[in-house]
């Protein structure tokens, strides 16, 4: 069965209160059409797992401004004053995670690992409430896996089976998140016939992609 859906239909299946991973780094490599559609359909009480909350009118920042988000797990919120404001007012829960740890927690979630051991955060506030493990005389933090109900992914190119390739710095968290969610929805800049993307160029194999957002029609 075809995985291609109109963006409206792809987002309709996301319930209020869902846990979403959203790819992108300061909105670069974020699935912007899916985010706009989340806003249009007023999906609420969302938990967003993402690197950052971009700027107020941009990418994930739109979800924050529209007050659709209840909880954020991110490494950086510094360029979105609205996120900080809602956090200080107590309207938005924010869990700050070191960027490399965030990547590895998502990877652990998608790769079936029980957690990761990292030196990052030892002896800082990030260590609070976490188990430490000593290996060969060095102390590591045990960081637990992250998973989501949906991953919203941006890719440079998809084929109609859902094989994905990425562009430059727009790759960032996308391939990691594509492994770590119950349902994976990919928005590609282009969708090409099966066979056009050579196997060696595929970064995310089609088997983990559930839905593809239909291309924007330019005419007709």
């Amino acid at each position: 069965m075809s995985k291609v859906r109109r963006v409206e239909a792809a987002v309709e299946g996301i319930p209020d209160g869902a846990v979403l991973m959203i790819g992108g780094f300061m909105a670069v490599g974020s699935p912007l059409r899916l985010i706009d559609e989340l806003v249009r359909q007023r999906k609420r009480d969302l938990t967003i797992i993402a690197n950052d909350t971009a700027r107020p009118g941009q990418g994930i920042g739109k979800l924050i401004v529209e007050k659709l988000v209840a909880r954020v797990v991110a490494s950086h919120i510094g360029l979105n004053p609205e996120t900080q404001k809602q956090m200080i007012q107590g309207d938005l829960q924010v869990e700050l995670v070191p960027q490399g740890t965030l990547a590895e927690r998502i990877r652990a979630g998608g790769f079936g690992l029980g957690g990761v051991l990292t030196p990052t955060g030892v002896g800082t506030v990030v260590e609070e409430g976490k188990r430490t493990v000593e290996i060969d005389g060095k102390v590591f933090l045990l960081e637990l896996p992250l998973k989501a109900d949906f991953a919203l992914i941006n890719a440079k190119r998809a084929d109609y089976y859902g094989n994905l390739e990425y562009a430059l710095t727009a790759r960032n968290f996308n391939p990691l998140m594509a492994m770590a969610a119950e349902t994976v929805i990919a928005e590609a800049q282009d969708i090409v016939p099966v066979g056009v993307i050579p196997p060696d160029a595929v970064v995310t194999p089609n088997v983990v992609v559930d839905l593809l957002v239909a291309k924007e029609r330019r005419h007709g």
């Binding site: 490494s75 200080i88 490399g100 030196p119 710095t169 790759r171």
Partner: protein, 218 residues
């Protein structure tokens, strides 16, 4: 020469040919302008590229080629792009030779605080904690004082970025190296005396008999 340029020109001399280098946002990015002749390095941007360079000219922006602030950059021939796990594998795994970061405070033991001011500014640590924990050399590039208060203290009052001491601190007044015995005054800025450095520093400094003047990249 303004203070930031001075700091950048001193830090530039710490980079070695063939290094992989990560420059933080703000003052540290200036360092790239003053690389000495014959020193070729690869710059990493933690959002997923090795081989970034400044945007060569207006009109060459690419929506998918950006720095960690989301601004447009260029890439040198031989550049490589990758996902965030690989990017931080390079940082945490001991593959990054030098990271240059801004600082809010550095303490007597060389520990850095640079990611939040409780109750005032909570931007998040981004990649800073991984960079300070994982890079082979960590260089802090910052003003010596802020609003008349020394940023080099006996103990940081702000939350630490890492428990690991940094390798070198370069300010507009001095170059200071954290050692197992304490903070060693290595150099003074041109026109600055040892006494002025001591008077502007709220931590103990070890002062050797000879403290040379800071050399600067052209």
């Amino acid at each position: 020469m303004d203070e930031k340029t001075l700091i950048a020109k001193r830090v530039a001399l710490e980079l070695r040919d063939g290094n992989l280098v990560n420059l933080g946002i703000g003052l540290p990015t200036l360092v790239a302008r003053y690389l000495p002749a014959g020193v070729n390095v690869f710059f990493q941007s933690e959002n997923g590229i090795v081989g970034m360079q400044a945007l060569p000219e207006e009109g060459m922006e690419d929506d998918d080629l950006t720095d960690a602030g989301g601004g447009p950059i260029g890439a040198v021939p031989g550049a490589a792009s990758f996902d965030s796990a690989m990017s931080f594998g390079l940082i945490r795994g001991g593959h990054l030779d030098v990271t240059v970061l801004g600082g809010l405070q550095v303490d007597q033991e060389g520990k850095l605080a640079n990611w939040m001011v409780p109750g005032k500014m909570v931007p998040g640590m981004g990649g800073a904690m991984d960079l300070v924990s994982g890079a082979k050399r960590v260089i802090v590039a910052m003003q010596h004082s802020a609003k008349g208060e020394s940023k080099i203290l006996r103990r940081c009052t702000l939350p630490l970025t890492s428990a690991r001491p940094v390798s070198l601190v370069v300010t507009d007044l001095a170059v200071i190296e954290p050692t197992p015995n304490g903070l060693l005054l290595r150099e003074t800025a041109p026109g600055v005396t040892v006494e002025q450095v001591l008077a502007n520093t709220a931590a103990e400094l070890i002062v050797p008999a000879d403290v040379p003047v800071m050399p600067l990249a052209p």
